[in-house]
């Protein structure tokens, strides 16, 4: 019983981190139909930006709790700077091409950003560890959780709820569906398609960078951050169904819980737990749990 609860809490905290990152990936795929490998790089850049900003604030003697705001701002800054540049300057050239080709473009971008972050920040580590303890600890029975982790859960829920609401309950969301379905027709209806693309990409990059920035306090930010994130968040998005917010949430939960369960019950299997779960789910739901409705073909 106690173990089940522990697995649940651990699963949730891991899932919320995953969800923030995967949400960005799924948004970008949903709107621009791009499976963005460089998502991991934006995560890493977010982490660097967040850690640098916090380090600067600490040197200015600002209260550590406030630095969470700084982390969000750092992510926003990364998105504001990098996303329009990437989308307008690079991706746009390739929209007319095959989907797989765009995956390659983002892979090339990933390689480039890998070295660019290194050139900008060097290889030495950055820390924002003070922020991690700014929210104190919460004790649940024999276990202690860090308040910051619980805050992450709230951030994840907020991000998910907000994007779901915008996409499903507002006009803006419906306009986005029109673009998703058929960009040319949406344009003919007066929708500024390229602005929708840019905003969707900005949102995606923001979420990636936010994931990175919010992780920065619990790790040492250094090269090699990006690779690990990519496949895991891909798995999450695929499990849930590409382009679906509910799907990303469910996928993150499934992966989070599966991983927590395997660490507690069968630690030797942690390495492939995610892939086994993904394979099993795809066998039963070939297009992920939440599949996108298809227009009639015949």
């Amino acid at each position: 019983m106690n173990l089940a609860l522990t697995i649940f809490f651990d699963g949730i905290t891991y899932a919320s981190w995953l969800f923030i990152v995967a949400l960005g990936l799924t948004l970008v795929f949903g709107v621009l139909k791009i499976l963005n490998i460089a998502h991991g790089s934006f995560y890493a850049v977010g982490a660097y930006a967040g850690a640098s900003l916090v380090a600067w604030l600490v040197s200015m003697k600002v209260a550590p709790a406030l630095s969470v705001v700084a982390l969000v701002l750092a992510a926003a800054g990364v998105a504001a700077l990098l996303a329009p540049l990437t989308e307008r300057g690079l991706l746009r050239m390739f929209y007319a091409r095959d989907e797989v080709l765009l995956v390659l473009v983002t892979y090339a971008l990933f390689l480039i950003l890998e070295d660019v972050t290194k050139l900008l920040w060097g290889v030495h580590p950055y820390y924002a560890a003070d922020t991690y303890q700014a929210f104190g600890n919460v004790t649940l029975g024999p276990l202690t959780y860090v308040g910051y982790d619980l805050m992450l859960v709230f951030v994840a829920v907020a991000c998910g709820a907000l994007s779901w609401w915008v996409l499903n309950r507002t006009r803006h969301g419906k306009i986005v569906s029109a673009v998703i379905h058929n960009a040319e027709v949406a344009g003919s209806m007066g929708v500024n398609v390229s602005r929708v693309y840019t905003w969707a990409f900005v949102a995606g990059v923001f979420l990636a960078a936010l994931g990175g920035a919010l992780t920065a306090p619990m790790i040492s930010v250094q090269p090699g951050l990006s690779v690990g994130v990519i496949v895991v968040s891909f798995a999450v998005v695929i499990i849930g169904g590409l382009g679906s917010i509910e799907g990303a949430a469910l996928g993150a939960l499934v992966v989070g819980l599966a991983r927590a369960a395997s660490v507690h019950l069968f630690p030797a299997a942690e390495l492939f737990s995610i892939y086994v779960v993904m394979a099993i789910i795809l066998v039963f739901r070939p297009e992920g749990v939440f599949q996108r409705v298809q227009a009639r073909k015949i």
Binding site: V100, L111, I112, V231, I238, A268, F272, L282, I298
Partner: protein, 320 residues
């Protein structure tokens, strides 16, 4: 099954290509020959991917069969004492084929990104398994020594040429077979599946059968590629099955396009060459250089290297 005139032409072109490659192997510097040897053995895996692209799916997990072929050959070498390079290649192909066989009907139900990701999941499960199996060297893998050909063991001084000659021969043979397959009735059906599955089903052909067979053929190619890589490298480790390895194979296939087998080999060679030079001359920014190179290729060769080759009139017809 008398060879029709077009397959006869393909065979002739392959023989000519082989002669040229063998001759080049003599004159080119050793490092370049070794680089080309690896590029070709990797190219075979990408050739399998190109073959699958013709039926409209791109597997992101060919590391699975690459590793299967590689480990099969390496284990036969170390544990069963099979040292003949051709036997090892065949064994690699067969092992990969057999490993892929149970998954083929399953994978054939998927399309697009789901096919890609499911095949990736399979390869990552194998990766995890290999990482854990200390008997196979775990994450460090293990080494194999030099293979033989019909009982003959090449001396140190010319071993690179020996490996090159065998690789070139195997590659030319398989590439010619692939070309013949692409030009065949069945090959045309694959293209039909790529273009319009609904139509193909409504003509009475099973789409999943076509995809499954292509997956199996690609697996066999990947297995041979894995076996050749192991004998060339002398080393194998679970990275053979890691997603970045698979990703590079996909990369080459897409860089080449799915129209020409020569383009696949050329793309593989080009990628290795660019990577090698950039990592030597820009040790700190070689990924940046590689990324820029890829972007430029994608930008200016929209249909892959194949389109460039097709623009040269010489290749037009013989395109083996």
């Amino acid at each position: 099954m008398a060879p029709s005139s077009s397959s006869g032409r393909t065979a002739a072109a392959a023989a000519a290509a082989l002669a040229l490659l063998l001759a080049l192997g003599w004159v080119l510097p050793r490092w370049l020959v070794s680089l080309a040897t690896l590029a070709f053995s990797h190219g075979l895996v990408s050739l399998g991917i190109a073959l699958m692209m013709r039926s409209g799916v791109v597997p992101f997990g060919q590391g699975l069969v690459f590793a299967a072929g590689g480990y099969a050959a390496a284990l036969l070498f170390n544990k069963a004492g099979v040292t003949d390079i051709l036997l090892l290649c065949a064994a690699g192909g067969v092992a990969a084929f057999l490993l892929a066989a149970p998954f083929a009907p399953l994978l054939a139900r998927y399309r697009g990104i789901f096919f890609a990701m499911l095949s990736l999941a399979l390869s990552m499960v194998l990766y995890g398994f290999l990482m854990k199996t200390t008997a196979l060297g775990g994450s460090d893998g293990f080494n194999v020594t030099r293979a033989t050909l019909f009982g003959w063991r090449a001396p140190d001084a010319t071993v690179h040429y020996f490996l090159w000659a065998v690789t070139a021969a195997v590659t030319c043979l398989l590439a010619a077979l692939v070309r013949i397959y692409w030009d065949s009735q069945r090959g045309l059906l694959s293209l039909g599946v790529r273009e319009n599955e609904l139509r193909v089903e409504y003509l009475g052909t099973s789409v999943s059968n076509v995809v499954a067979w292509n997956y199996l053929l690609a697996a066999a190619l990947g297995g041979v590629g894995g076996a050749l890589t192991v004998v060339t490298l002398g080393h194998i480790d679970p990275n053979f099955s890691y997603w970045t390895t698979s990703g590079e194979f996909v990369f080459v296939a897409i860089l080449a396009g799915y129209h020409s087998v020569i383009a696949v080999m050329a793309a593989s060679f080009l990628l290795e060459l660019v990577r090698s030079f950039s990592s030597t001359y820009f040790p700190n920014t070689w990924q940046l250089a590689l990324g820029l190179f890829l972007l430029l290729v994608i930008r200016f060769l929209p249909d892959g290297l194949g389109s460039l080759l097709q623009r040269l009139p010489v290749w037009r017809r013989s395109a083996a």
